[in-house]
């Protein structure tokens, strides 16, 4: 006995292998077909199906004894003619979609071998539908029909297959499991067959579940239980007719068809009267009980499968109630708690429940009871002239199709009453245990190969519009268009005489306030204080007079003055790429900002950056946006004449670092390179001269210009790892910015001139050229190798020469080049190493460095910066 079963299983497995192998070879051959060949084949299949719609409808009705021939003809037309109409012009071979703005194209790849399970309720139409879909997408399909509909299903498959072969399709691309008592077992074997790529299951819940648990990709359907809410605004007459068309379609076998109506009390009397007039039977409470006993299987609580697709009079007879033979639907009022009513389930026959409700809320809630009572994700309907009601209904109900003012069954099929994709397979999403809520079709039978082209950013160069650039240009203030200005400055500006230089030159009729409380590291409370002053006495102009902190603070003050609703958190979110940042800056600028730098360092007068101390953490908040750019910058070296030597050198080293980092940045461009190179050249030339003769305006002027040029360079190219380290050190040990930059310069220049361990992934930086950039800088500065005069230095040597020049300049200027020289004890420095590394990584400057610094590399850079330097 055991061996017999084994033999049978072996024979079944052989049959399964044979079917799958045919399908597999055909799938391979399909890959060579063009769109034109495919379209010709699909057309031939459609023609053959249309020629046989009636023959197949009769065959289906005879075999299954379900539904109505007339409606099965319509279903066959939907699966062939309507389906073809919809897919005819769709591309399914080669490039099928293009997204020019995203620089992406989609290329089709067939899924391969499809195991298609087809139902008893729509046997021939489903086979026609899936065959056309498979051919259109160059897939093979093996049909496993429902046992009770196997002959008509396989007949349909044979008809379309023969037409396809005559039109040149690959041999064996459609196959089917022959009717036999072991059909189900054979199907199960194929569900787990390694050569089946996708299961496309339409049919009973058990099979769909088996498909989903086969471990293969599966397209399934869920069970339905369609609620239809009829709002008082609907037309009762058209609603009644639509519901009748839908619920009687193929005697109710269509799973999206209406199961329970939820009717507003205001419209119920007319609607029910209309149903009666059109020959629907409204059951009494006693009859409802009888119908329920007949159509509900007491063992399962679900519908009695023997009555699926039977006409209303026959069902009435089985239930023992008298109706006339032309009765269309048995309408059953569902009294009591709907959730517990026996008839509140799916009934694929002309038996329709209804409840009456007194409000939209109640209506949607009762519809939810049906929707979540076995039909989640499937289909629902709403009749309403009030769009708001439709929207609320659609928002609440979980259904892949929410059909409005039309029949849900034919409406769900798509193409006849609406523009839904034509289907005989209704995806129910996760609510129904499916992967999609689509009307499943060709779209779901393809693999989509996305081909993205490299992102091409529009690069731009932005800076302050009006820049006055020579000594004495502060005189521009005399012609400044302002009636009320506030000068934002620090205490030292008054001491150094800068404040009076500005006040004297402002127009006589201009009301002037002064806010001079900006300290070394302003925080948001400073901004708030200044903005409060400005609100008390409104201004049209903000004049920022001072070093980098003053200029940065004034930029933020102007932003918050112009945008009273703005929150700091909204604009200070960290980001990887400023083009993708979350922060949204208001683009409203009412107040003009005049920036007058009194140091030659940050270049803040021409950058869209502003840094603020965050009192909650140790870190600094960086704000970046074009709207922060000042409108006017005045680069007047007369304001720097009294700058002490130490600050002169510190700020010059900040500017030099800007030039060096902008040059190597991943965002550098020809525009920023020119600025960076010239800024460097000016600093190397003018700083030693200024130190020799601090009062000489020409060299001060050159230094002042250098800082501004370097500012324009970083304003567009940003900085790099050196600034990240400097910010971290500055925050931990309170070191002035220029000094903090200086101590890392020799380490980072060396680090960035070596082939990175990890390149920086940036679309706009396709080639690592940091070493070439440094070599070009050395060449531009005219650096020569004193050890090998007359020889052309290698690129590597040029990088060394650049570091040597930086070393020599620092030594000449007395600028520290190592952390030890800042007076920070080694043990303290080492104790805070983790904090320093973390702080560096949080810094945005890191992200435009030409190499992506690794954590150990950052630690090594920090460590190497401690001991005093040797000349490179």
């Amino acid at each position: 006995m055991t061996s017999t079963i084994k033999d049978q299983d072996h024979a079944l497995q052989e049959r399964a292998n044979h079917l799958v192998r045919q399908a597999r070879l055909a799938a391979a051959v399909w890959t060579q077909y063009s769109q034109e060949q495919v379209d010709n084949i699909v057309k031939a299949m459609t023609v053959a199906a249309i020629e046989n719609v009636q023959k197949l409808a009769i065959a289906a009705h005879e075999e299954t004894r379900m539904g109505m021939i007339e409606d099965k003809i319509l279903k066959n037309f939907v699966a062939s003619e309507f389906h073809y109409h919809q897919i005819r012009d769709k591309k399914t071979v080669g490039i099928i979609r293009e997204f020019p703005e995203e620089h992406i194209v989609e290329v089709a790849e067939p899924v391969g071998v499809i195991l298609a399970i087809t139902p008893v309720t729509n046997p021939t139409s489903t086979v026609i539908f899936k065959s056309l879909a498979a051919a259109k997408t160059r897939n093979s399909v093996i049909f496993s029909p429902h046992l009770m509909a196997a002959d008509c299903s396989n007949l349909a498959a044979k008809i379309v297959y023969e037409a396809a072969i005559a039109a040149g399709a690959p041999k064996g691309f459609i196959t089917w499991v022959e009717k036999s008592p072991r059909l189900r077992r054979e199907t199960e074997l194929m569900m787990v067959h390694p050569e089946v790529d996708l299961i496309f299951a339409t049919g009973g819940t058990q099979l769909v579940r088996a498909a989903a648990s086969s471990g293969k990709p599966a397209l399934g359907v869920g069970s339905g239980n369609t609620p239809v809410y009829i709002h008082k605004s609907a037309s009762y007459a058209t609603t009644a007719m639509d519901v009748i068309i839908s619920k009687t379609f193929d005697n109710g076998t269509e799973c999206p068809s209406e199961q329970t109506l939820v009717i507003d009390a205001e419209i119920a009397p007319q609607l029910l009267a209309e149903f009666q007039r059109l020959n629907c039977h409204i059951c009494t409470a006693e009859e409802v009980k009888k119908v329920a006993d007949a159509v509900i299987d007491p063992r399962t609580g679900g519908m009695n499968y023997k009555l699926v697709g039977q006409p209303a009079d026959l069902i009435a007879e089985k239930a023992g109630i008298k109706v006339n033979q032309y009765t269309k639907i048995l309408l059953c009022p569902l009294e009591g708690d709907l959730r517990h009513h026996k008839l509140a389930v799916e009934k694929l026959m002309p038996v329709l429940g209804y409840v009456i409700v007194n409000s939209v809320d109640e209506g949607i809630n009762r519809a939810l009871d049906i929707n979540y009572g076995g039909g989640t994700g499937h289909t629902a309907g709403v009749f309403s002239e009030d769009d708001d009601v439709v929207e609320r209904f659609a928002d609440a109900i979980n259904a892949g199709r929410i059909i409005v003012n039309s029949p849900t069954s034919i409406g769900g099929l798509g193409g006849v009453y609406n523009n839904l994709n034509t289907t005989l397979s209704f995806g129910c999403g996760t609510g129904g245990g499916n992967i999609t809520t689509d009307n499943v079709g060709i779209k779901n039978l393809l693999n989509y190969k996305r081909v993205p082209r490299r992102k091409n950013y529009t690069l731009t160069f932005q800076t302050t519009k009006n820049i006055y650039i020579n000594p004495g240009s502060i005189d521009h203030l005399r012609s400044l268009k302002t009636k009320s200005a506030i000068i934002i400055t620090s205490r030292s500006a008054a001491r150094r005489g800068h404040l009076s230089m500005v006040m004297e030159r402002l127009p006589a009729d201009c009301k002037v306030d002064v806010f001079s409380d900006v300290g070394v590291e302003p925080d948001f409370s400073t901004v708030e204080k200044a903005v409060a002053v400005m609100r008390q006495s409104p201004v049209d102009t903000v004049i920022a007079l001072g070093g980098g902190s003053v200029l940065d603070a004034a930029k933020i003050m102007r932003l918050f003055y112009d945008n009273p609703e703005l929150k700091l958190q909204e604009v200070a979110v960290s980001f990887l790429d400023f083009r993708h940042r979350i922060s949204v800056f208001p683009q409203v600028v009412h107040t003009q900002l005049v920036a007058i730098p009194t140091t030659s360092g940050t270049g803040s007068e021409v950058t869209p950056f502003a840094v603020l101390k965050d009192n909650n953490s140790k870190r600094k908040l960086s704000l970046v946006d074009e709207c922060l750019l000042p409108n006017i910058a005045i680069i007047d070296a007369n304001l720097t004449k009294s700058m002490p030597k130490e600050i002169t050198v510190d700020t010059a080293f900040d500017a030099l670092t800007h030039a060096l980092e902008a040059l190597a940045s991943t965002f550098s461009s020809d525009y920023t390179d020119g600025l960076a190179l010239e800024a460097m050249r000016l600093i190397f030339e003018a700083l030693p001269e200024t130190l020799k003769n601090p009062g000489h305006i020409l060299w001060r002027h050159k230094l002042h210009n250098a800082a501004c040029l370097a500012g324009m360079a970083i304003g567009n190219a940003s900085v790099g790892v050196n600034h990240a380290l400097a910010h971290s050190l500055g925050a931990s040990f309170d070191i002035p910015h220029g000094k903090a930059n200086g101590v890392f310069l020799l380490s980072t220049l060396e680090y960035n001139s070596k082939i990175p361990r990890k390149f920086m992934p940036t679309s706009t930086y396709p080639l690592w050229v940091a070493d070439q950039k440094y070599a070009r800088a050395a060449q531009f500065l005219g650096l020569t190798d004193e050890d090998a005069p007359g020889e052309t230095p290698s690129r590597e040597k040029m990088c060394v020469l650049l570091r040597r020049a930086v070393y020599d300049l620092a030594r000449l200027a007395g600028q520290p080049l190592a952390v030890a020289e800042l007076g920070i004890p080694q043990d303290q420095y080492e104790q805070r190493m983790i904090e320093l590394v973390t702080g560096s990584f949080e810094d945005m400057s890191m992200r435009t460095n030409p190499a992506l610094p690794l954590i150990p590399e950052v630690a090594a850079l920090l460590a190497s910066a401690y001991p005093p330097r040797q000349r490179p």
Binding site: R24, A27, T31, Q32, G112
Partner: protein
């Protein structure tokens, strides 16, 4: 004969190079006949841009026959669209004739 000796015997046979010109829609008699003479075959696919299901089945049988005859059949110069047909067909003998390693039949990545 040890495996090594058998391999040597195959290597020592004469090799005929035969082109497959045009679409391979069915078996090619003269190739069958040439194989039967006991030579090794190199099938040159330079001129072949399409293979049908029958063509695939014939190639598979040809390889089976060559195995039983103790000779060797090698495919060369396949255009990508034809090579892909072999890849999708998952027929190990065809892939080996192209010099490709055996391929797992389950989807993998």
């Amino acid at each position: 004969m040890s495996g090594e000796n058998a391999d040597q015997a195959v290597e020592q046979r004469r090799t005929e190079v035969l082109p497959i010109d045009g679409p391979l829609e069915r078996g090619i008699d003269h190739i069958d006949r040439t194989l039967a003479t006991g030579v090794n075959l190199t099938l040159d696919f330079t001129g072949c841009k399409f293979i049908s299901v029958d063509g695939l089945e014939w190639l598979e049988e040809l390889l089976l026959r060559s195995d039983s005859l103790g000779s060797k059949v090698v495919f060369t110069n396949l255009v990508p669209s034809v090579y892909k047909v072999f890849k999708v067909a998952h027929i190990d003998s065809l892939l080996r004739a192209c010099g490709a390693p055996s391929q797992p039949t389950e989807p993998y990545c």
